[in-house]
């Protein structure tokens, strides 16, 4: 564990309905590909949303590279978030989806075009830029969603079951792509997955979450 680097959760607590996360601590190394796994209802998505700033912990601290981010709203965290199904804005073309974050940051047109082209090249989706989300396959949606997050050069990438709606062959290929991108960008990545094969393909380490508690952390030694 690198003290001060990566992401650190210290004594994080949160409750919603009857579900609680209590005093959860976790350290993820800088540049690590970390997988979060566990049964349905274990709190994986809640944990991802707490890190992204979409939910506010009742107690505890979340730090990215040593800097506390617990009090920051999501738009000030610079954390990339790729939810299940990609969740592309249906009223925007693929190109306009990818450049959304750049638009709200007030970047110039040329800057946006170059950044979108770079991200599209990285994910081999240049041919989709003029398409609308409604006509894309599940895998294409996820790639666009990933490009939309990566174009902002986030400090941390959160992938919430990004491959759950994709068939097995495409999943393996996307896993390899995810890993290649992570190597290229060196972004610390937290990936939520139920799929053992997916975990073995991508993870440096994996944690098992059950009833809001981390029950195991293991070195995986990925195969990809």
């Amino acid at each position: 564990m690198v003290e001060g680097g990566g992401i650190k959760l210290e004594g994080v607590s949160f409750g919603i309905g009857g579900f609680t996360i209590e005093d959860l601590s976790l350290s993820i190394r800088d540049g690590e590909y970390f997988v979060l796994t566990g049964p349905n209802g274990a709190g994986k998505t809640i944990l991802i949303k707490l890190i992204a700033g979409l939910l506010r912990p009742a107690d505890g601290e979340i730090k990215v590279r040593g800097a506390p981010i617990t009090g920051l709203p999501p738009w000030e965290r610079n954390i990339g978030y790729v939810p299940q199904d990609g969740v592309l804005f249906p009223n925007r073309s693929v190109c306009r989806n990818i450049r959304f974050g750049l638009e709200v940051r007030g970047q110039g047109k040329d800057q946006m075009r170059q950044a979108v082209e770079r991200a599209a090249d990285m994910l081999a989706i240049g041919h989709l830029l003029d398409r609308m989300p409604a006509g894309l396959s599940g895998g294409e949606c996820q790639k666009v969603s990933l490009a939309r997050a990566l174009v902002l050069k986030p400090e941390l990438l959160l992938l919430d079951e990004p491959l759950s709606a994709i068939d097995e062959d495409a999943r393996d290929a996307l896993c390899r792509e995810l890993l290649a991108i992570q190597h290229e960008t060196a972004i610390t990545t937290i990936h939520v997955s139920h799929n053992r094969k997916e975990i073995e393909l991508v993870a440096d380490r994996a944690a098992v979450l059950k009833d809001g508690k981390i029950t195991d952390i293991m070195d995986v030694g990925r195969k990809a």
Binding site: G53, W75, V87, F89, V104, A149
Partner: protein
């Protein structure tokens, strides 16, 4: 070639379509009855009086203004009700249904009573000596807004309800603050419901009669709108002129609905 599965059981589908056909026939018959009864003399008589033009103008202006005002209030109100849980939400939600459930005449009485209280009198006559609302065109807008806004809130809230919250979550992680998220992600994705909210509220408002008569009266050229003109003309026995005005209302309503469907409202409520 194999027969398309949709073509099986057509007899049953026709049976289901029969009530629809009967109802449509009833509507067409009623409308046709109005148009067939109208004579050229009645049209000349109605349009020969400037009062009718004034009534049409006042009806269109007040109903459009009230519908726009209703949408302007319904957008934030619908969003808050759709996205947030707060103390008193149930009460607020129930109160919103009151203008929908209550007879409009009762709402008109409530407005009249309110403007008879000290606060109401100050609001009505405190700023403008001649009064702002009672027996004034602004009173028409107020009454129409009170009745129509609840419909707009209901329809627009349903639009927000059906919008996946994850769009907002993703937008925020991409750097958009709450206002940017609302403007760039939420609003563009509920446009059909905004149009539907406006049109539903306008449709409710356009034919409103009783409460407007109570609060604003029906003074020729001043607070007379199309529904009150029909009432006036009928009460003095000029049924044929009332029919011409009724036909105008039918045409305006039809044109609005057609434009609404062309604007993207099709498939949302209709």
């Amino acid at each position: 070639m194999q027969e398309n599965s949709a073509s099986y059981g057509r007899g049953f589908d026709r049976l289901l379509a029969a009530p629809l056909a009967a109802y449509l026939l009833l509507i067409v018959a009623l409308i046709a009855g109005v148009f067939l009864t109208i004579t050229r003399d009645a049209i000349a008589q109605a349009f020969g009086e400037p009062a009718l033009f004034n009534a049409i103008k006042l009806s269109v202006v007040t109903s459009v203004a009230s519908a726009l005002l209703s949408v302007a209030v319904a957008v934030p109100a619908g969003y808050v009700l759709s996205r947030h849980r707060f103390p008193g939400r149930f009460l607020a939600d129930t109160l919103l249904d009151l203008p929908i459930v209550l007879p409009p005449l009762v709402m008109g009485l409530c407005v009249l009573i309110f403007f008879n209280t000290a606060v109401g009198r100050w609001i009505d006559r405190g700023l403008v000596p001649g009064g702002l609302f009672i027996y004034r065109p602004l009173g028409i807008v107020l009454v129409q807004f009170i009745v129509g806004c609840a419909f707009a809130v209901r329809v627009i809230k349903a639009g927000f309800d059906s919008l996946d919250r994850r769009y907002e979550e993703v937008a925020m992680t991409l750097g958009a603050n709450r206002a940017q998220t609302f403007r760039k992600v939420v609003l563009p994705n509920v446009v059909p419901s905004l149009i539907a909210g406006g049109v539903i509220s306008w449709a409710r408002i356009f034919g409103l009669f009783g409460p407007i008569l109570l609060v604003c009266g029906t003074m020729r050229g001043r607070t007379e709108i199309m529904p009150t003109t029909i009432f006036l003309e009928t009460s003095i026995g000029r049924i044929e002129v009332a029919l011409v005005i009724g036909a105008c209302m039918i045409l305006i309503s039809l044109a609005t609905l057609i434009v609404f469907k062309r604007l993207g409202g099709r498939g949302y409520l209709w």
